[in-house]
Symmetry: C2
Subunit: 318 residues, 2 copies
């Protein structure tokens, strides 16, 4: 891994890859007021919980969710054991390299891909598969490892919050078991602070070995209305700060910023077609429409990536 335990930005001032713009000022003002004893907005450390979406918020998500690329790569790797896939959609199109056609089936096609590639496997085997893929796979456009396509300003923000006694959590529509093998090394977020979508999992003793087995069946989708539910289930307290990038985060920001006492909602707006990608209202991936309409009136901070971030990826990138 290139992004290692000693952060690349170590020794620099906090948030140094953020321009001194309105978003940075709002974040710093919020952290100052909740961290200052005697401040009317003071929040004790144990309640300083910040939740972060992952895809499009902490790492990139174009040209499609990285976990979906993982699923596509696994279909190819598993194809020799599944000759029937040559005649069966969405697998046939994936094997022909026509991902657009494979995904034309929408959610049911995605669920089929995920079920076949993420289920019928032990949690240890799945962990190893995700880890091996991240070591070897490269992004089609940048040639970077996927875990190098994380946003430097967000790594700095996570660090800055933790330095101010916040606990940082991921709350993502992505798979909880897909993220946990690498979030600690890349983001400094340990497995127990990762909330995500999951498949049904059962406990079995196989040949005397206690084993957790993933079924090819979705158990929980941690997106939209699911995000406050996932937070309640895993954390059991209402966070004081939420950061997302799409309408899939709307309910999470709504719930967090409706709490009594100080709170902060932040939306990362993808405005930088040169260094990253520019997309919002009309995008199939990371669609951001209602958040742009209602966010400002709700007091949410809208981060303009192009104009507010000095650098996007730690190692350069696109």
């Amino acid at each position: 891994l290139v992004v290692v335990a000693t952060p690349l930005w170590a020794g620099q001032a906090p948030l140094s890859s953020w321009q001194d713009g309105s978003s940075r000022k709002a974040i710093e003002a919020f952290v100052a007021k909740v961290s200052t004893e005697g401040s009317p907005a003071y929040v004790p450390p144990a309640e300083r919980i910040a939740v972060f979406d992952n895809d499009g918020t902490l790492w990139a998500e174009q040209p499609m969710y990285f976990q979906l690329i993982f699923a596509v790569d696994r279909v190819k790797a598993m194809a020799p054991e599944h000759p029937e896939w040559k005649a069966q959609e969405p697998f046939a199109s994936v094997l022909k390299g026509d991902i657009g056609k494979a995904l034309a089936g929408g959610t049911s096609a995605i669920l089929e891909l995920v079920g076949a590639t993420h289920g019928n496997i032990t949690t240890d085997e799945f962990d190893a598969a995700a880890t091996a893929w991240l070591e070897t796979a490269r992004h089609p456009r940048t040639g970077l490892k996927y875990n190098e396509m994380v946003y430097l300003p967000m790594l700095e923000l996570l660090d800055y919050l933790r330095a101010n006694d916040f606990a940082t959590y991921i709350v993502s529509g992505g798979g909880i078991d897909f993220m946990r093998p690498w979030t600690e090394e890349v983001y400094g977020i340990p497995p127990e602070q990762v909330v995500g979508s999951s498949v049904k999992t059962t406990y079995e003793v196989r040949d005397g070995v206690p084993t957790l087995v993933r079924a090819p069946e979705i158990d929980f989708i941690d997106d939209k209305e699911g995000k406050p539910v996932g937070i309640h289930s895993h954390i059991g307290r209402r966070p004081i700060m939420a950061v997302g990038n799409s309408d899939g985060d709307f309910q999470m920001l709504e719930w967090v910023t409706a709490r009594e006492g100080a709170s902060l909602g932040v939306i990362i707006h993808h405005t930088d077609a040169e260094r990253e990608w520019a997309y919002d209202r009309d995008s199939h991936i990371g669609r951001l429409d209602r958040g742009l309409d209602e966010g400002p009136d709700r007091g949410w901070v809208i981060v303009d990536m192009k104009n507010e971030w000095r650098q996007v990826f730690p190692t350069g990138g696109k």
Copy 2:
């Protein structure tokens, strides 16, 4: 609350209400070897995770699970709004005070009681109901508040483990939302380290107010094979120590003690009819049979409450 943030045992030696017997020695030896740098059994602090069952392990569970007493009390409190309950089991028997008959319906009767008393309510309302009940309700035999019927030796053990950089979690068949309002104050275990059974919960905006609503439907049962699953979902790492008291904890101990590297399984055996209750193989509540048969061969520590605990409850009790 009588058991407050400054523990009653503060200032005493660790584990001072444990006799200097085989269980205490085994626990101390385990903690020493995983905490000593350079020891072949050394475990880094982030992986020093200990999981505890609650009912019968951290607090008492006789004459029936305290959460079931809460449900019974709620049936009585809610009865005026439910005139139909007078003619409908299991409610009719509860209202007549015949709990034995009410529970004769077994699991389905319990699920009906739990559904009616734990569902169709917001999470905030449920939190308030559980908190109010704990403030006012008294145990039928000891006259103590239920959260005074916690085991002093276990409070000491939790403290001792945390002093050695363990993270302590509850993993209980009891309701996660029933425990979270009080576990931090009583056990020093914050909400995010409580794993338990849950009902389906949905997010709704009610009259403009973001709200989490509990459905009268079980979502997850954190017992038996469910315990390793709940641990994997919430913690995402394999604990190194597990403590329980019944066969409902068997799989949790089995999974934890099958890990590579050092591990410890502990069973609290209720042997003290004088100071607490004596029950095991034939008990409807907290049945312990397979654990007694197989535990010793598996290297699990069996704690004889009568002979190994100098004191049971912090304030005396039964």
